[in-house]
Symmetry: C2
Subunit: 352 residues, 2 copies
């Protein structure tokens, strides 16, 4: 009987959480462990799955799980444990399953840990991938996963864009921003993005943005916004926060909408930047709304039905920055906060 064949025990490289962060995450806040082993089999009596991790998603929110008791999300989420592998979203292959929804050989995306093989004793958020030829599996860490759903929910649900409206996207070449810009064009909007390098600005233009600027070359962000939006901004898709948001507020048009997807400039500051221009929320009758992708999970199928034709017919492009090898994970993750990534940051663990 197959049950008698002993499952192999293999080495299992891991990215361990080494210390609570002080400021933005750095490579030295992690440690690579190569000593562990894992038996590639779900134990008897478990409902779990055993995963081989193919791609891991680098997401900015993970820093909140590294801040210990100082985290603004300490009430909501349990943080990473020192000495344990960090976790997040990824694309994996099911090597063994005692869960009724999954079978050996399935490709899945969802929760996993930053290690080569992961045993999940309990499945909470794991979704089977319907394999599409021509679509890279890594896309399920981004455009077809949380980043895509974030762009979709945060733009269409929160902003209710109308044809001809003027859209600004900060951190516009990132995992979410590059999609929001392309969605804005599909909706007939004028869209301008900011990013942190000449290459990223070029990318935005290639993706169809009407304008793009390097915020590092602008001494006066307010003047830059006025240059691209002489008549003001209807929709701000906010990824940066702090001084960027403060410059945007007085440039908003009446009844403008600010969709707060992220405030990456503020996550790891000891003292956050003050906002001087909050009163424009009143005077310009703005709606400013914060949200999390969890708020839009119910829209996932609708989103997939919307985005797949665009992806398959190459009307929407998606730029990924893929590092190869789990040991590059700490570098790749830290890159989100220095801006040295170019597009959606992914770690490739295994994939032939």
């Amino acid at each position: 009987m197959p049950g008698n064949i002993a499952a192999p025990v293999v080495k299992n490289k891991k990215v361990l959480f080494k210390r609570y962060i002080d400021g933005n995450p750095k490579e030295s806040d992690f440690e690579i462990s190569t000593e562990s082993t894992i038996k590639l089999q779900v134990p008897e009596g478990s409902n779990g799955v055993l995963l081989k991790n193919l791609y891991l998603s680098c997401d900015a929110y993970l820093c909140f799980l590294m801040q210990g008791s100082k985290s603004s999300m300490a009430e909501t989420f349990e943080g990473f444990k020192l000495g344990e592998p960090i976790g997040g979203m990824g694309v994996s292959e099911v090597l063994d399953s005692k869960h009724p929804n999954f079978t050996k050989g399935d490709l899945v995306w969802g929760e996993t840990l930053w290690e080569e093989y992961t045993y999940l004793p309990e499945v909470r958020a794991l979704f089977k991938i319907q394999d599409h030829k021509d679509i890279p599996l890594s896309y399920y860490t981004g455009i077809l996963g949380m980043s895509g759903l974030s762009a979709y929910g945060g733009f269409y649900e929160v902003c209710q864009p109308k044809e001809g409206e003027r859209v600004f996207v900060s951190a516009a070449s990132g995992a979410v921003g590059q999609l929001v810009g392309q969605f804005a064009k599909i909706s007939g909007c004028y869209v301008v993005g900011s990013a942190g390098s000449k290459e990223k600005v070029e990318l935005l233009k290639e993706l169809g943005f009407d304008g793009a600027f390097n915020y590092k070359e602008e001494n006066d962000l307010n003047a830059a916004l006025k240059r691209y939006f002489p008549e003001g901004i209807d929709i701000d898709f906010e990824n940066v926060g702090g001084k960027t948001l403060d410059a945007i507020l007085p440039n908003m048009r009446m009844h403008g909408r600010i969709s707060v997807c992220g405030m990456i400039s503020q996550y790891n500051l000891e003292k956050r930047d003050p906002i001087q221009n909050a009163y424009w929320v009143l005077f310009k009758r703005l709606k400013m709304e914060g949200w999390a992708v969890l708020d839009y999970v119910h829209l996932y199928q609708k989103f997939i039905d919307f985005i797949l034709p665009h992806v398959l017919e190459k009307r929407i492009k998606y730029v990924e920055d893929i590092v190869v090898g789990l040991e590059k994970g700490p570098y790749a993750f830290s890159a989100l906060y220095t801006g040295s990534n170019f597009g959606k940051q992914v770690v490739k663990v295994f994939r032939d």
Copy 2:
């Protein structure tokens, strides 16, 4: 023929705009003129009306029309002219009309000027009052006018309150706040208000607020909010802004709503208070929305159908602070900014 009877010419007292304000409006920014006269007749060829002003509404937004080119609303509204009477909303009697919708003897509410008699050459926003016995006419400056519609739109449309939710109202004894608190109770919410005197705090309790505090007696507003909202705030109806809003933000619950009706603490500052806690909009997934009563004009009849039974059956109370005589206008208007008014501030001009 009646046309041959000469219309009387009478003295017409006025509140004139004397100087652009520097800081909050003061009595000395106005001047009372008693020298003008007016013929109580609409001129031939006009489509206008001639009004006898009964009650004038003191509204905080009027200060934006007194700030000259420094006004945050300079783009949107033309300010008052020096040496001319200020304008606003009021309740009036039609003494003469060449406008098809109005007849001599009609009672109306809407636009007028701060003078005893007003000739409006063009009617833009004037509404006939269906006379209800038992309802004071002055209510059309407040609960049955813009203040009531503001409370209704800003609470029900923006906040979508649900039974059991926790509501905070700042400047809660004011023209709008006292109504929002009572609407919150009608909707089955828990509601706490802040105000600036012991008497106002007592009033809020009499109006049915579950709790009320004098913000002047609280050294630490954050601590006060935590005392009344140990589990956080679902809905903030914001009238004050600045430091008050900054203390509220970290006390909001997940998916909370902040309806920005006003920011009276910020209107006349040279440099507005910075907001340190804007990032909670993201972390608590808040919706913060600014609006103006103009956004809800289409709901006026629906609002009246809602509020009239409550008023007639005395389930909702409304507290007015009425000064008698147009010459008291500058004092009454300035009182909004010192908080020395007690309830909706009204100026009674004529009424037997």
